[in-house]
Symmetry: C3
Subunit: 155 residues, 3 copies
Amino acid sequence: MSRREAVRDLVVEYGALIDADRLEDWVELFASDCRYSVISAENLAQDLPQTLMACDSKDMLRDRVTAYREVNEYNFHSDRHVIGGVRFRDESTGGPWRIEANYSLFQTDVEGVTRLFLVGQYDMSVVFEDERPRFADVRVVVDTASIPTLLATPI
Amino acid sequence: MSRREAVRDLVVEYGALIDADRLEDWVELFASDCRYSVISAENLAQDLPQTLMACDSKDMLRDRVTAYREVNEYNFHSDRHVIGGVRFRDESTGGPWRIEANYSLFQTDVEGVTRLFLVGQYDMSVVFEDERPRFADVRVVVDTASIPTLLATPI
Amino acid sequence: MSRREAVRDLVVEYGALIDADRLEDWVELFASDCRYSVISAENLAQDLPQTLMACDSKDMLRDRVTAYREVNEYNFHSDRHVIGGVRFRDESTGGPWRIEANYSLFQTDVEGVTRLFLVGQYDMSVVFEDERPRFADVRVVVDTASIPTLLATPI
């Protein structure tokens, strides 16, 4: 399987594991040395570094999932990611691959009502550890203004 | 062309043929021995086997399309599927390939108003007949609660 | 990289460049001899040739982007394309490749409110110039009725 295929699989897995509420497994898609952040498209456009959320290590990411689990005993909504094609920005060098993908994220509440929750872009950097692709950096750009809740599910 | 490519093509064709109202051709994407079912995400999460709809053979699937044609002389809406990347779950064995894909389904009425109709996940099993991939099993998981209409278009 | 991969990249780039408001670069995805048109699904179904917009040459496409820039000093919304898998309709001949892809287009206003703007299908023809794929023809089929504005962003 080509590296491109492996990277596409990784992006699909990213969305699938969040949607399946398998957040502990989702963390394992990240490299040992990693970063995950969420930034509004507005701040990005204005070159403001302020993020809505940032984890600078895999341990921080794990802690976040643990905290989420402790607070949310029940799921009050379910997520569904529909992610567009992967844009390969830098795959020729020996370093990390830089990729992008647009996403639409829909949420369905306990009544079964689905709404468009967020749209935006993943800006990702992928490294290969033992030939397996892992996220070194995931920056989630969010177009939609939303109240950032510290203990929400990842996007 | 790789088998992965062929399977991706099949999934794209699945949505395209429904959107083009080519339901008779859509049926031909299924294997001679096949199953098509629709289940709510809620029932699936609770391990309830109750489906919203199920066809246990290709003949049943054909009958369903025929019945739909007899009742719906005119189309009162058009469908548009936007399907995310294919998740390859089991492609290494000699048996059926198990794949998944998230979908968003939009409907547009005769006034040209588009709304988000359903989101969910395809859980599919694909076999190769004369080297051509065909659906042995399509289970459509629907997140959105909706009134199941017996003679609606396939999802 | 296979030609299929190159064509997929081109489609992803198409959406990404519009979303990034890089319309001048977007024009360069087209072949020297090209056509871009927008047609409603309703007109298409009734075989009415009337388009919502048509550029019959690359110069017309460039002019359109220039006109857009002159009128819109500020962006009052941002676009986000989520495009489904590419359907390869004709890739075997020496001529142009004919492909299709479903799209959902979301817009976010200055308040950060995102709404579903349009859904539909790209009907594209791709040629290879110096081994690089370029759009010879892009016909955007729009399901959603919308007021066609001459100086809107491309879809």
